[in-house]
């Protein structure tokens, strides 16, 4: 589904990604971990098509198409979703209105008929249950004055609405309380199927207890320096990153 080959990217003069290789197949869950500032969010942004980041080398194919060639909105329409580490506020625009615009533009792109208000609300009600989000929150201006946890829950609600093929969740667990973590994770699990995939960026094992990864990768200084199975995450939790950093410096 997603093949990243030797991806390099910089912002301004600063090189951040230094040759990333990753292969994600349908149905898989990949966890990306790594110390602060190692480039995890940058990777997510580059995949989503944020303009500030300049791709300086490598390639990314998504469902056989050249992802890097696509405009950001088309990547979303092709099925790439990013749950932001820091969701932005849009005053005066309700999540409902925002999602209605998004859903219908995506449907148009795919040649499907747009949803009228009634059918949209029908779909919305269903997805609301999935992440146990309150309609009152969705009526409010997008992310404006939302608590940290509410923002994250809202991101996953949006994921549920858009049903992406590939979802990249950037530290969705941060800010969620213990119960919310469970609810949101369960929501993500319910959305999983054989033909979609999830990349979760996280610092903690607790999320991976719920969303169990098939593979765990460690990103360090813009490179994937170690990959393994879910046991790697447990090892990191116990030992931290120093041993990996040492391994890297030995090389």
């Amino acid at each position: 589904m997603l093949t990243i080959k030797n991806l390099q990217a910089k912002i301004g003069e600063k090189q951040i990604l230094n040759g990333i290789n990753l292969e994600v197949k349908p149905g898989e869950v990949h966890a990306i971990m790594g110390p602060n500032g190692s480039g995890k969010s940058t990777l997510a942004s580059v995949l989503a098509g944020r303009e500030e980041y300049e791709v300086t080398g490598g390639e990314v194919s998504f469902e056989g198409k050249d992802l890097l060639e696509m405009a950001p909105e088309d990547r979303a329409r092709e099925g790439v979703f990013l749950a932001f580490q820091y969701p932005v506020e849009i005053p005066g625009v309700s999540t409902i209105n925002f999602m209605k615009t998004a859903v219908n533009q995506i449907r148009e792109y795919r040649g499907q008929p747009t949803l009228d208000a009634v059918s949209f609300l029908g779909v919305m009600k269903e997805k609301m249950k999935l992440v146990e989000i309150d309609q009152a929150l969705l009526n409010r201006a997008l992310n404006e004055g939302f608590s940290g946890g509410e923002k994250k829950r809202n991101e996953i609600f949006q994921m549920a609405m858009l049903e992406p093929k590939l979802a990249v969740l950037d530290e969705t667990d941060s800010g969620l309380d213990i119960d919310a973590l469970k609810i949101v994770s369960n929501g993500v699990n319910k959305l999983r199927n054989k033909s979609n995939a999830v990349i979760v960026v996280t610092h903690y094992q607790r999320l991976l207890d719920y969303i169990v990864p098939d593979f765990v990768h460690v990103l360090y200084k813009g490179k994937i320096v170690k990959s393994g199975t879910k046991e790697l995450a447990l090892e990191l939790e116990a030992k931290g990153y120093d041993w990996i950093k040492e391994e890297v410096s030995v090389l």
């Binding site: 989503a48 098509g49 944020r50 303009e51 500030e52 405009a71 950001p72 909105e73 990547r75 979303a76 329409r77 979703f81 990013l82 932001f84 969701p87 932005v88 506020e89 849009i90 005053p91 005066g92 625009v93 209105n97 925002f98 999602m99 615009t101 998004a102 533009q105 995506i106 792109y109 201006a141 949006q158 858009l162």
Partner: protein, 481 residues
């Protein structure tokens, strides 16, 4: 060039939608302004002697006045002798009802999305259509008449209700209030008139639609709304003009008179031709709008969405004379390309416990200049007066300007005044968030801008709100930098 800039360039070059003209034979005065022209206009309209005198006096005053220069707008000197002050669509007979109106005129308004015929009955809005200074049709007159509501063209009111006109015309905006009001008083050609009797709640929206059609023609209309004790009316005003290379002059006067417990809500969606993207052509819009809350507990509310005109000079105001009276001003002013807007309000608190609320949202894009100018004046007698002002500016790109000029005069120490102001830019982060959800950049900007202006748009009657949202999107889409 970044993509945002590219989109900005593309979208700011979007053509003005109403830039067509209609082939209608017109009946015009020669260019220029002098007493003979005024006599010509007055005679054309078959006016009583007192009105001609009123006009001539106004003209005399105007000749002694100077164009105001304090507004934050720049334009080449206007040659007032180069303007045609009277142009009327030629009609074989004076229309008594819709059947008599020239079908070309009806078509003109239909093109604007305003139906003057039967089908309008469904939407329940009574329309007075004014083209090139002359009212061509007023709908729903009979229905309204049953309630004692008078809604007709100004000229008709002069003929049929001279006492009301004589008593109230100029009582809110005196002839010599300013240069443009004096000019209007001398040469106004038509407009709308509305009287709501005591205790009557007008059951439908009343609306005036203005269109300038003929070239080189100034449009000088007057609107007079009188709300008698305990009455209520919601009034809408819309305007468009064809695309022309030369600038055209529009100097209107709107007066609202609210008696005890009366409420008037006046909404405008202004979409005069703004000029092309190099700043050529466009309407000069110098308008005096004022409401007098004469009676106790009366209320006047102005809502405006200003998207058009090359130059906008406009300060819908409220004089809060009655105790416990209330004035409101909700405004969204959008400027793009080389447009200049200097707009705002005046709230003059005279009575006790008077309240005013100002919400102004400026949006500037391109090379435009957008100024808010507002005055809040609390007079000595205005015990317990309160004002709240919120003035926000949103910038798109780095070639435009936003300015705020609030003036506050307080002569009574019990007054409470709150003023908030913000300036923001549409964030790349906000746009990217939208793009990531599959929303294209144009729609993203439309969403963000409509969200920003929501508090004002919410004040508009439903049907107008939709139109206004589309207009905002059309004027601005993608203007990010």
């Amino acid at each position: 060039m970044s993509k945002d800039n590219q989109v900005l360039e593309e979208l700011t070059s979007k053509e003005y939608e109403h830039g067509w003209t209609t082939d209608i034979e017109t009946d015009s005065a020669p260019k220029g302004l002098n007493e003979d022209i005024i006599r010509f206009i007055s005679a054309k309209k078959n006016e009583p002697a007192w009105l001609l005198e009123w006009r001539l006096k106004a003209y005399q005053q105007w000749t002694k006045m100077k164009e105001p220069t304090w507004a934050n707008v720049k334009f080449p000197e206007i040659n007032y002798q180069d303007v045609i002050y009277y142009s009327a669509p030629k009609q074989k007979v004076t229309p008594k009802n819709l059947e008599d109106v020239d079908p070309e005129l009806i078509k003109t308004f239909e093109k604007l999305g305003i139906s003057l015929t039967e089908q309008k009955r469904l939407t329940g809005i009574a329309v007075d259509a004014v083209i090139d200074s002359v009212s061509v049709a007023t709908t729903f007159k009979e229905t309204l008449g049953e309630l004692g509501i008078i809604f007709c063209s100004f000229s008709e009111a002069v003929q049929k209700h001279p006492d009301l006109v004589k008593k109230y015309m100029g009582s809110v905006v005196p002839v010599n209030d300013n240069y443009f009001s004096a000019l209007n008083s001398a040469v106004f050609t038509d407009g709308s008139f509305c009287y709501i009797p005591k205790g009557v709640r007008c059951p439908m929206e009343l609306s005036t639609y203005f269109r300038i059609n003929a070239a080189n023609t100034g449009q000088f209309e007057r609107t007079l709304i009188i709300a008698d004790e305990g009455s209520y009316v919601s009034y809408l005003e819309g305007c468009t003009a064809p695309q022309r290379d030369e600038n055209q002059l529009h100097a209107a006067v709107v007066e609202i008179y609210a008696m005890k417990d009366a409420q008037v809500k006046y909404s405008t969606v202004q979409n005069w031709y703004p000029g092309d993207k190099e700043g050529k052509g466009g309407i000069y819009n110098f308008v005096t709008k004022r409401g007098l809350c004469y009676g106790d507990s009366s209320k006047i509310s102005w809502t405006q969405v200003e998207t058009g005109s090359a130059i906008t000079w406009k300060y819908p105001s409220c004089i809060l004379r009655g105790d416990n009276s209330m004035g409101e001003f909700y405004s969204v002013a959008v400027t793009n390309n080389y447009q200049q807007a200097d707009t705002g309000t005046k709230m003059i608190h005279i009575g006790k416990n008077t309240k005013s609320r100002i919400v102004s949202k400026g949006i500037s894009a391109g090379h435009s200049q957008n100024s808010y100018r507002g005055q809040v004046h609390i007079m000595k007698r205005a015990e317990g007066a309160r004002n709240f002002s919120q003035c926000d500016s949103l910038l798109m790109g780095d070639k435009c300007g936003a300015h705020t000029f609030p003036y506050i005069d307080v002569e009574n120490s019990t007054a409470r005044i709150e003023h908030e102001a913000t300036t923001s830019k549409i964030g790349e982060d906000q746009i990217f968030y939208c793009l990531q959800r599959g929303i294209d950049e144009e729609s993203a900007v439309a969403l963000i801008v409509n969200g920003y202006a929501k508090e004002v748009l919410n004040q508009l009657p439903m049907e107008f709100a939709v139109e206004a949202q589309k207009l905002l999107a059309l004027t601005l889409e993608g203007s990010v930098g």
